[in-house]
């Protein structure tokens, strides 16, 4: 049973990992904490759910979800980053998150909706462990995204521009980086990940509510900090570790203990090593 619980933890953690990666992109590159990110994921999940319930195919649902999430991310970029003054960005993303969550409640109500996922009997068995199609897909996608993003950030020109922006904004502008373009593209990328995550969340949890993303978002934020800002790889690993810790807490201690380890861990990191395990960005000290 222990090994199965570890597997459960990895699966849950992949959920956190995906969302943490989208958080870390925006925070690392643009030094902005998008507190509406969880709600963007929820949008993806709800839209995908609606399409699947209406009889649409999974690719269609995925496409729609990604489209909606990218659109919402760009909306956030415009209203919450570009227009407001610097230090009010926290507030605007909070407000945006609140708006989105209430829009969902208004349109879909607050009860949970069944998500029609993959229903194939396909499964892989390794000794006593069993992985079904959904779980395999989740793991594959998480791994793929982690690798792809790391490559993007480290090897591509766009990645270089992102890193330049995160290191020193002024120097980046001086050396010809089109800050506006990089910003928009970073947000779009973050939206893409949120869209994929939303669909995955629906498949893994088999149901969605207006609050799904918010819950995942809190923990994903923890993963982001522990993993290290700006590091997709770090966010991924931290997310998975967090998932394992949570599952073990619930499995062996009880449901009340679900979160008791997670947040003190974060506080420890903030105190001792705010740049996280793999962090690259400099952390502003007061």
């Amino acid at each position: 049973m222990f090994s199965q619980q570890i597997v459960n933890g990895i699966l849950l953690g992949s959920m956190y990992a995906l969302l943490a990666i989208s958080y870390t992109l925006v925070l690392g590159v643009l030094n902005m904490l998008n507190l509406a990110q969880g709600e963007i994921l929820t949008a993806g999940a709800l839209v995908a759910c609606a399409i699947l319930s209406a009889g649409g195919s999974m690719p269609a649902a995925l496409f729609a979800s990604v489209l909606v999430c990218i659109a919402l991310s760009l909306l956030v970029e415009f209203f919450c980053l570009r227009l407001p003054r610097g230090d009010t960005q926290v507030v605007t993303t909070i407000a945006m998150g609140m708006i989105l969550q209430n829009v969902y409640t208004g349109l879909w109500g607050s009860e949970s909706i069944k998500f029609r996922g993959l229903s194939s009997g396909f499964a892989i068995r390794i000794s006593t462990l069993e992985f079904n199609a959904t779980q395999i897909l989740l793991l594959a996608i998480t791994a793929a995204l982690m690798i792809a993003l790391s490559l993007l950030i480290d090897r591509s020109r766009f990645g270089r521009e992102m890193r330049a922006l995160s290191d020193n904004r002024t120097a980046a502008r001086v050396s010809g980086v089109n800050i506006g373009r990089v910003t928009v593209l970073t947000f779009a990328l973050s939206g893409l990940i949120a869209g994929i995550s939303g669909v995955m969340a629906g498949m893994v949890f088999t149901s969605v509510t207006a609050f799904t993303g918010g819950t995942i978002g809190d923990k994903a934020m923890v993963a982001m900090v522990i993993g290290g800002t700006g590091s997709a790889f770090g966010a991924g690993i931290a997310g998975i570790i967090l998932g394992i810790v949570e599952i073990l807490s619930v499995g062996y201690l009880g449901a009340e203990y679900r979160e008791i380890v997670v947040f003190p861990l974060l506080i420890l990191f903030l105190w001792l090593r705010p740049s996280g395990i793999f962090g690259k960005g400099r952390v502003e000290r007061a």
Partner: protein, 399 residues
């Protein structure tokens, strides 16, 4: 000085905003119809958790009130009601109660949930206003309250019958219990009622030393299912609300668990039967109502419900559940109290009227309702219990 002035000004603006905003949005402080009728309050969760059950309850209430008025009202005067949505939140419920009280309603039908009632019963006693709660089946909930009533059988009564049948029919020797630790009624079922009853039936509870728990509304049950799978029980018992039960059963089936499930009254709320599909077939639960009753009154009730419900709500189930019957009977019980006690309905007599209704209900033991007989010494409903199971997309009586 200027600062003080601006703070004072701001406070004045704030308070006057308060006042003028309160006028259009506030309820009329006018008392309930004086000579022209009797007014009841309804406080149920029409939005949020429990909304599907609450909508059914509203249909039942509407049916009852319409029928009474069409038959000439009570002593010639019409019955009316005012509804406040509690959203399934105990705080909203307490606000709803206070609001209805301030409008001089004679009694309140509601709240719905145990959590809501826990907060509302003390307030009801404080205000001297009768509440007939509809779905809080936690044992001991209404003990000791003067004005708090509930027209529902308690969980231990239901569990006793249901578990016995389930164990017999499926030949259960070992059971695993999955329990909510957050929702009061689910928690008391899973942690207090089920273990003891299984022990009495000679069934071994495998989760006694290491309980399998979750919190209401959790999205991930993988840890719990894995734990249960490793225990290999003959059956799985749930101390759950219906929404969570749906998820748990679906997850369990997905992980390859084939055991039968059992729960009690909360499982009927929501749509375990309609949305469960293959997964939930054969699940046992119990309630004080079934779709194939013997009494003509109950049969007519079901017919009328099926006629009225679609006109009120598009998405409510065409099969009424016990909540609906509880609510319908509650209205009739209050109406009977009003009639037999000679309640005046005048604004000046609100306090005495409410007490008259309370006195009547406290002694009501032989009411002829759809599924209600009255209240026992703890103000809980006196009912017949049916053991039900899911067959197809309905809850049917187990013979």
């Amino acid at each position: 000085m200027k600062k003080l002035l601006s703070v004072v000004m701001a406070s004045c603006i704030a308070l006057s905003l308060c006042a003028c905003a309160a006028s259009p949005a506030a309820p009329t402080a006018a008392p309930a119809e004086t000579e022209s009728g009797y007014k009841l309050g309804v406080a149920i969760p029409l939005s949020g958790m429990g909304s599907s059950a609450a909508k059914m309850e509203l249909v039942g209430i509407t049916m009852a009130v319409n029928e009474i008025n069409e038959a000439g009202g009570i002593g010639g005067k019409k019955l009316s009601f005012e509804t406040v949505d509690t959203s399934g939140d105990p705080k909203e419920a307490s606000n709803a109660l206070r609001k209805l009280a301030s409008e001089n309603v004679l009694a309140v039908v509601g709240p719905h949930y145990t959590g809501e009632a826990e907060v509302c019963y003390p307030i009801g006693d404080e205000l001297g206003l009768v509440e007939i709660a509809l779905a809080c089946s936690m044992p001991g909930l209404s003990d000791g309250y003067q004005y708090g009533f509930r027209n529902i059988a308690t969980e231990d009564q239901i569990a006793e019958k249901v578990l016995k049948k389930w164990v017999e029919d499926y030949d259960i020797k070992t059971v695993a219990i999955i329990s909510d630790v957050k929702a009061a009624v689910a928690k008391s079922i899973g942690e207090d009622i089920l273990p003891g009853m299984f022990a009495d039936l000679g069934v071994e509870v495998l989760t006694l030393q290491s309980p399998v728990t979750y919190q209401t509304g959790d999205v991930d049950f993988s840890a719990q299912i894995t734990k249960v799978k490793a225990l290999e029980p003959d059956g799985i018992a749930l101390g759950s609300l219906a929404g969570d039960a749906l998820n748990i059963i679906a997850k369990a089936r997905e992980q390859g668990l084939k055991q039968p499930f059992v729960g009690t009254a909360p499982l009927l709320e929501g749509v375990l039967d309609k949305k469960g599909g293959e997964d939930t077939q054969g699940t046992y639960a119990g309630s004080a109502f079934c779709l194939t009753p013997e009494s003509e009154k109950a049969q007519k009730f079901i017919e009328d419900y099926r006629a009225l419900a679609p006109t009120m709500y598009a998405e409510v189930s065409s099969d009424p559940l016990h909540y609906c019957a509880n609510a319908y009977d509650a209205v009739y019980m209050i109406a009977e109290a009003i009639e037999k006690q000679g309640v005046s309905g005048a604004a000046a007599d609100v306090k005495t009227d409410r007490d008259l209704i309370r006195d009547y209900l406290a002694g009501l033991k032989d009411f002829d309702g759809v599924n209600s007989k009255g209240f026992d010494e703890n103000h809980s409903g006196i009912k017949d219990i049916y053991v039900l199971k899911i067959e197809g997309d309905q809850w049917v009586v187990v013979e």
